[in-house]
Homo-oligomer: 211 residues x 2
DNA sequence: GCTCAAAAGTGACCGCGGTCAATAACAAAT
DNA sequence: ATTTGTTATTGACCGCGGTCACTTTTGAGC
């Protein structure tokens, strides 16, 4: 289980490099699939925070050590699961018409906010992995952030926003405000206002030139 | 150790409420001081990330249970220690002349950035507590954020920045960008550029009206 | 089929954060 | 000095993430 180390496996390599050494055994794929399915079941039943590796392992019918042969640590599993959900959310977002103004942008971001707001733990994992954890490896969550950036840039390209700043910077700013607003949502003092309402003025001030 | 539960003790109550029930014993203060001193020593020697509760406890000469009678969990201790450092940094920042433009603001923020950049772990703890952890209790770190907000607002009041947005929102935006930039610093892909250089364009775009 | 080296899987074990029933230290009242 | 109710301290214990020396399985070459 070194050739398939998840450090470089983000979940969809056909792995046709059978020339070198030994190929991947089907067993491996099965086991990993079982682990992921088991994890998904647990999350479905009890949420992300309550997930225990032991539980996943027993549901998958493997030993504990096997788990850590497939995922460097529990966070790597979480990154997979949460990354998948973020990707699903982005799919949904991209399937809808391109937002054309600030209001529509805020509306379009709702699914993402809902996802990251559901559990504090999810948001924590997201933050921890948003900066690509440690050098070299880019995890699933970090990938979704790259994708998110691209989506935002595409939106901004065809939207009536300020042009004195590059689209890339504008998009990064949106991400910064999004995170800020979500963090505030978890703050005891500010959890009364709903997030879209809070996000709106930031994006308006950030994207639109002052009158 | 319920009346002095750290949930409500941020480190500097004289606790003159001796009328109700039982007063605080001097023993308590001594023990807490010893724990904090021991923790500080450990951090000094090995950094925040490497700190182990057992080590702190043995250095302080108390039992493990005592630690958790004084701090709800390890993070609470961290919040104290890191909060103290942030406050020290803010003291230094406030002691210097008020920055008058974006460049000076970025410069003034350097100590804070240095603090939060030194250890990834510190930044993680900061993020975790910046939203006041859980309802009701406001921890030391959350307090420093409030203070930081005030400092920023004071700066912006007398600075040549856009006025179409409230000073409060502008200040919160600065915080959002600061966090964004620090997060990027820990990202494998973007760690080559230094932070002031990166922060500058954001703040410029955020604070100054487009030409 | 048989061989054999590499890959996959196992589970006892460890480190560390956190708990709690029991105990000791304290201070006020008698 | 003794009792009494409260507060502070203790340390054995637990849960859970993670490790690793060892066993089992696999499949390419014979």
């Amino acid at each position: 289980m070194t050739a398939v180390n998840n450090k470089f496996d983000h979940g969809h390599e056909p792995w046709q490099t059978r020339g070198m050494k030994q190929p991947v055994q089907q067993r491996t794929l099965k086991t990993r699939a079982r682990l992921l399915a088991a994890a998904e079941e647990v999350v479905q039943a009890q949420g992300f925070e309550a997930l225990r590796v032991d539980q996943v392992v027993v549901r998958a019918g493997v030993a504990k050590g096997t788990f850590f042969a497939h995922f460097t640590d529990k966070d790597a599993l979480m990154s997979q699961l949460i990354g998948a959900r973020i990707n699903a959310a982005l799919d949904g977002i991209e399937a809808r018409p391109t937002p054309r103004d600030v209001d529509q942008i805020v509306q379009a971001l709702l699914p993402l906010m809902a996802l990251l707001t559901r559990e504090r733990y999810v948001f924590d994992v997201f933050l921890r992995h948003s900066g690509a954890a440690l050098a070299e490896e880019i995890g699933p969550i970090a990938e979704t952030i790259g994708r998110f950036q691209e989506v935002l840039e595409r939106w901004l390209d065809g939207a009536p926003v300020r042009r004195d700043v590059s689209v890339a910077v504008l998009a990064e700013g949106i991400q910064a405000f999004l995170i800020q607003v979500i963090a505030m949502h978890f703050c005891a003092l500010h959890s009364d206002i709903d997030m879209p309402t809070r996000l709106d003025p930031y994006l308006r001030a950030w994207l639109l030139p002052p009158a």
